[in-house]
């Protein structure tokens, strides 16, 4: 494990040195197209202290983070129960699936114009687009999670006389939990992708807004800062979710060990 980390670190360090040399001393790449490390540093300083695109960096970050969190929670809060319901009840599946099948192939970003038309450039439109994008993987994976439960586990629960709600809480959900978490992870990624795209199209704050304004200003350093922030936040929130998963499913960790 340590060896793997060391190799990963070396790869990134090599890339960073190459980046520094290529944009600086060797002048292989024009700074107008690809920013040098000092350019990025200057942009980071500017957006952190003086502000850029209507706000300071932390304001943009918090704003994007807030919308992702909101959209993600709404998406999994609706998607997971819907998927579980469709997995458990053939009737619910028969009713919901046709609608779901029509909506599913629409690329989430295609909802942006409608969302802006309905809800304007504010937060509500973004939450709506994130919701539409992020709830799909949660539905599909929760559904599959239920369908993949071994029939004899369900029979064992019935044989023990497990009442309905206890069955849902103590059998159905834990049995489907590994796939529910897979769905949530994909939902989280979809949340970030969609948010940045939605902010690119029209927003007053946020990381997408930084990217959009930086593009119009032809400001590669700032574009880099925006991208790096999205990458770091995306990574950090995914880690956080993985941590929640590890703690919620102790029996799976035991099985792997």
């Amino acid at each position: 494990m340590k060896r793997r980390y060391a190799i990963g670190f070396l790869t990134i360090a090599t890339l960073a040195i190459f980046w520094f040399l290529a944009t600086g001393p060797l002048a292989l790449i024009s700074p107008g197209r690809f920013p040098s490390p000092p350019d990025v540093w200057a942009s980071l300083k500017q957006v952190s202290t003086k502000g850029y695109a209507n706000g300071l960096l932390y304001q943009h970050v918090l704003h994007s983070l807030k919308l992702v969190a909101l959209g993600f929670v709404v998406a999994i809060g609706t998607g997971v129960p819907l998927g579980l319901l469709m997995g458990w009840s053939r009737r619910a599946e028969a009713i919901i699936n046709p609608v779901f099948s029509i909506i599913r192939p629409i690329p989430p970003l295609a909802w942006i114009p409608l969302a802006i038309l309905w809800l304007g450039l504010g937060d509500a439109a973004k939450v709506m687009v994130i919701w539409f994008a992020a709830f799909v993987p949660s539905v599909i994976n929760s559904f599959t999670g239920v369908r993949r439960i071994e029939p004899y586990v369900i029979e064992a629960a019935r044989m023990l006389g497990t009442p309905r709600w206890r069955f849902v809480r103590e059998v159905l959900i834990p049995a489907a939990a590994p796939l529910i978490f897979t769905g949530m992870r994909l939902s989280l990624q979809a949340s970030w992708t969609t948010l940045v795209a939605a902010e690119l199209v029209g927003a007053l704050y946020g990381l997408g807004r930084i990217l959009n304004v930086a593009q119009q200003d032809i400001y590669p350093g700032m574009i880099f800062v925006g991208m790096a922030c999205v990458a770091i936040l995306g990574w950090a929130t995914t880690r956080l979710l993985a941590e929640v998963e590890t703690r919620s499913l102790p029996w799976i960790q035991m099985a792997r060990a």
Binding site: A156, M159, L160, R166, E170, L249
Partner: protein, 265 residues
């Protein structure tokens, strides 16, 4: 009291020409606290018989009754031990055993006492907090048996419970089951394809024909066991050496082989 009766039971699966007849003319009465083993060629419907008593399947014609009541669904008075153990991997050993008692509304103190007794009965002391994945197959099946026994069910249904275990573990479990069954007798319906197991464990052995399964022969092992004093031997291999055991084992083997060769033709 728990008497199981099959009356004129027929069972077919599927419909409109795509189906097949699984069981036909099953008439059988299992007395209270009797241990009955059903053996038969694979696909003969022996597991389906058990599943109809459990309430997982229903006869196409005829009735399956427990204590005179038609079986309408699963319930904790008919505990099932599955071949695949069917434990809840996210629950610890004691949580697995306790679930049925919680469902029955047994008070916490009483519950803990009974779970502890079941743990002791099955030799699971020290593993109460373990998850099923941490246990061997034999230990997992002990948990499943404890989970069934703790409910003090009238009927115990076992579907090839030792089929997934290695030969040694299997033997130990068979001996344990005999020990438990003598100490704490229940009405047991035991499905197996292992002839020795059936003869060693059961009071009566039911031999089934190939599909569609019918009852071919019912052998009263209990009278042989009593007459030949099998119970004075503690070890399974000593019982298996007895002439009376060998006789009935061979008899059942022959009977099953007839079914199998008929199937191949």
């Amino acid at each position: 009291m728990a008497v199981i009766t099959f009356e004129g039971v027929r069972k077919s699966f599927g419909h409109n020409g795509g189906g097949f007849l699984a069981l036909e003319k099953i008439d059988l009465t299992i007395a209270d606290k009797e241990f009955v083993a059903i053996v038969g060629p694979s696909g003969c419907g022996k597991t389906t018989c058990m599943r109809m008593v459990a309430g997982f399947e229903f006869p196409t014609a005829g009735t399956v009754n427990v204590d005179g009541h038609r079986v309408t669904g699963p319930g904790p008075n008919r505990a099932v031990v599955f071949q695949q153990f069917a434990l809840f991997p996210w629950k610890t050993v004691s949580e697995n055993i306790a679930l049925g008692l919680r469902n029955k509304g047994v008070e916490k103190l009483e519950r803990e006492k009974r779970v502890h007794q079941a743990v002791e009965l099955m030799g699971l002391e020290g593993y109460e907090g373990a998850f099923p994945h941490q246990l061997s197959g034999g230990m997992q099946q002990r948990v499943a048996i404890a989970r069934a026994y703790v409910l003090e069910p009238d009927v115990l249904l076992m579907d090839e419970p030792f089929g997934a275990l290695d030969a040694q573990t299997r033997t130990t479990m068979q001996e344990e089951l005999v020990r438990i069954a003598r100490r704490n007798p229940r009405t047991v319906l035991f499905i197996t394809h292992a002839v020795e197991e059936a003869v060693y464990l059961a009071d009566r052995v039911v031999i089934m024909t190939r599909r569609p399964g019918r009852i071919k022969e019912v052998i009263d092992i209990r009278s042989v066991r009593t007459a030949e004093k099998w119970d004075k031997y503690e070890r399974i291999e000593d019982v298996m050496d007895l002439e009376s055991f060998v006789h009935w084992r061979t008899h059942i083997w022959r009977s099953l082989r007839e079914e199998k060769s008929g199937q191949d033709r």
